[in-house]
Symmetry: C2
Subunit: 500 residues, 2 copies
């Protein structure tokens, strides 16, 4: 707003005066080296020009804008217009321009007339992906409300549909290939033309700053059909959820699953969601899908040495993976999650060991897993999203996008994922996100060992002695708990349960 | 024992003296009218002569023996030897002889050498029946430990196998047709020769007075294969129960299901067992089989207006049908029952509405259901087993064989069976026991109305006012609760929950 009034008056001038803000100066007048004013195309506030394919820059993270200018310069984003302009800008000028646009919040520019059906299809794809083609939910990385993350993944809300279509085509054609880990190249290649149009229409239609406070859940369960998962059993589509009291519980269960911090707050002690380990809303084969788990309980578990019901099994998730506390048996939280799982399992044979259950078994690696090699794998493949210190990443509004892999906000030492064997199996099948299977077995083991060699919240079953707790619960070659790594006895200084 | 010593000395005499006991006198010397001494064939203590096909009379209920003498006289049991003997005995003589044999407890007479495999097959049939042919478990009527009931159904334990075979053949051939409701004629006609031999071998091998106190459960889950139920889904055979911790829970669940008074005592407030309403150990289609119920939960129930898990649904059985209290969620009792149900449902599609679920739907009758007509149906078809006052029947050791249908030991007013509609559907499909489908729809409705027009324990949801409780929970034409029958307001004086 602070520039709003100034700009109205500026619009009447053919050549303006210099501004105290270096960024605004460049945007309005261009640079000494001959870069034209950004405002000529992107507008004074960076609202863009949808019809001309000029993107909205307002509100993008400044670091992201800087990286794009670098890409134009190096032509990893091939763009004949932007290449010379970006090349003409000095590093301080790039920072200034980026900082300026990043702080702008103009209204959404008028885009093509939105087709409600197209938007709905895009909303489904954005929220759920299309795992029948290996396409993850866009919002898994672009964050709830499409706000992007701090610097890595761009905000898409209110971006113009023409621009989004153009970029997806650029990834497909290979004319843009500055995407970390090749994620967007891989994903765009799986989108057909209808899907490209749909996601573009959807993101374009979204409000600038996410849903207003007090609005309904920003990521409600939609009514659209989704396709079956990649392989094996196909859970029913979401539009099969009935509009009755049973259906309400299914939807509540799905909401808890996606956003336990909001829908199951009393029982959650970290920033993870169920869908971090059970990808695709618990539907994806090879990522511990709910439908396969549901039909496998009651079952005896060596972890607690008795027959567990499905509800008790889920209590374990809350206690360990969510570093929280177990919702009571019969509580709305557990009943809703059980009802959601039951819905997903519709038609699955009771008691079957379904293909796609859990994570695909991974043999012990040829060479013993190794921290140093794992660190390299992590830096090259994981740090981009999960952070250099495993802290994860959040959207600007604070909501978690990429889960913390260690530290106080991650799963605790009692979680199954703290066992390198389990982590390696999950990583091999599912990481980097949507590109499962691209790491070698050895890489998966090494990086799992690296991740699980960091401190995390204490095992809630802690007996008072790390050695004793290790002997009781972590006595195996694939558990690092109690071992000394980088001079730290893992578990010895970990965050006590419930205190963060 | 009081005759034991006397008899030893008698055996040395060719003609004995008169005895103070009229029965013993007749047994040893015959009757004035020319009936020969019973002991000539049956032995002094009624142990019988297996090889000659002479039955054991010792320990049979006196009323049962009297009835047999009547049958021989009328030739509804065609027997050329017994016909003239029984005809020669006066009514007081019959009573005396019956009373004498009834009180004897000689050891089991030596029968044919038992074949362990044959006995095992017979044990399975005795405990489980063969519902693939509509054959109920023999012990459903002949009682646990085969001790029979008070006067109606004979004790079979230690009876000679030759005699049992002969009787089953007599039912098959129609030369014996004094069976109430034609039950044994119907059942015997479904047994093949191998099954006849097996049950005979099994019962013959059983101890005279049931299992000794402190022995393992008298009706353990055996390892034999059982066949699928009559129609539709086939639960796995019992020998598919694995010998591990999971299998232990399955077996515990089955034991609770068959004998909740022993295995779930804290939660049971009457003499019923789960298998009274869920016939064939929860396997029989059309009798609310567990496998069909298991895959239908979680589900919304109008009874309590929310989505119920399977465990919560079972809590309802304990509160209402068992007139007890709900075992806690997660308790061993509920987990075992759920695990047993899950085992039975193995392979059944999750969420399916399986054929055979619940009781077959029964349309409202042509004429309104009627107490007086129902009473007649009851007297002719039900009273034999369930008692003239609906009190049920027990084995001599007190264990329930035929459940109480009303009164203090039956289900309470909150049970689904208290709704005439449900009771009629159950009765039509399943009663008289093993002869389901033989009553007309009208008869089923009438007798259900008669049964449900009797007082029973209070609904545990009782609000303090019968009218109010009726309005809240029983407001329908098929509930008699709160209505006046024979001058009694049903529910007004019913046994308070928990007090019996």
């Amino acid at each position: 707003m602070r520039f709003g009034i100034v700009i109205v008056s500026l619009a009447l001038l053919t050549a303006g005066p210099a501004f105290a803000d270096a960024g605004l100066n460049l945007v309005m007048h261009g640079s000494k080296n001959g870069a034209p004013p950004c405002s000529s195309c992107h507008g004074e506030t960076g609202a863009g020009q949808p019809a001309a394919g000029i993107p909205r820059l307002a509100g993008l993270d400044a670091r992201y804008i800087v990286r794009q200018l670098e890409s134009f310069t190096s032509s990893t984003r091939a763009n004949s217009v932007m290449h010379p302009i970006a090349s003409a800008l000095t590093a301080p000028e790039r920072t200034a321009v980026a900082g300026y646009f990043s702080g702008q919040t103009p209204p959404r520019a008028k885009d093509t007339v939105p087709d409600p059906k197209l938007i709905a299809a895009g909303a489904a794809l954005a929220a759920r992906g299309d795992w029948s083609k290996g396409i993850p939910a866009c919002k898994s990385c672009h964050a709830p409300d499409a706000l992007g993350t701090d610097g890595t993944v761009p905000r898409l809300a209110a971006q113009s549909s023409e621009y989004i279509v153009a970029q997806l085509r650029a990834w497909q054609a290979g004319t843009r290939h500055d995407d970390p880990l090749g994620l967007m190249t891989a994903i765009a290649s799986k989108l057909d033309a209808d899907q490209v149009a749909a996601v573009a229409a959807y993101f374009s239609s979204q409000p600038v700053n996410g849903a207003p406070i007090g609005a309904p859940a920003s990521d409600p369960v939609a009514e659209e059909t989704t396709k079956p998962v990649l392989q094996g059993f196909a859970p029913p589509p979401e539009n099969a959820i009935p509009n009755d009291d049973f259906g309400k519980m299914v939807r509540l269960g799905e909401n808890i699953f996606q956003n336990p911090q909001r829908f199951a707050a009393p029982y959650v002690g970290n920033t993870l969601s169920c869908s971090n380990c059970h990808i695709g809303r618990g539907r994806l084969a090879g990522s511990a899908p709910l439908w396969a788990a549901y039909v496998a309980y009651p079952a005896y578990r060596s972890k607690n040495k008795h027959v567990n019901t499905f509800e008790e099994r889920m209590q374990g998730c809350f206690k360990f993976s969510m570093n929280g506390k177990a919702p009571p048996l019969g509580s709305e939280t557990l009943v809703a999650l059980e009802t959601y799982s039951y819905f997903l399992a519709k038609g699955a044979p009771t008691g079957a060991d379904l293909p796609g259950r859990g994570y695909p078994n991974l043999q012990m690696p040829a060479r013993p897993f190794d921290y140093a090699r794992g660190q390299k794998v992590y830096e090259q493949n994981c740090a981009l999203c999960h952070g250099t210190d495993g802290q994860g990443q959040a959207a600007p509004d604070g909501r978690t996008v990429f889960p913390a892999l260690w530290g106080p906000h991650s799963f605790n030492w009692g979680a199954g994922m703290g066992n390198i064997k389990n982590a390696a199996a999950f990583i091999k099948a599912n990481m980097p996100f949507s590109r499962g299977g691209t790491l070698s077995d050895q890489q998966a083991w090494d990086v799992a060992a690296f991740v699980d060699s960091h401190e995390r919240p204490q095992d809630p079953r802690f007996t008072g002695s790390v050695a004793d707790t290790r002997a009781k619960y972590h006595d195996g070659a694939t558990w690092m708990y109690g071992k000394t790594v980088n001079g730290i006895v893992l578990g010895a200084h970990s965050v006590p349960p419930g205190k963060r």
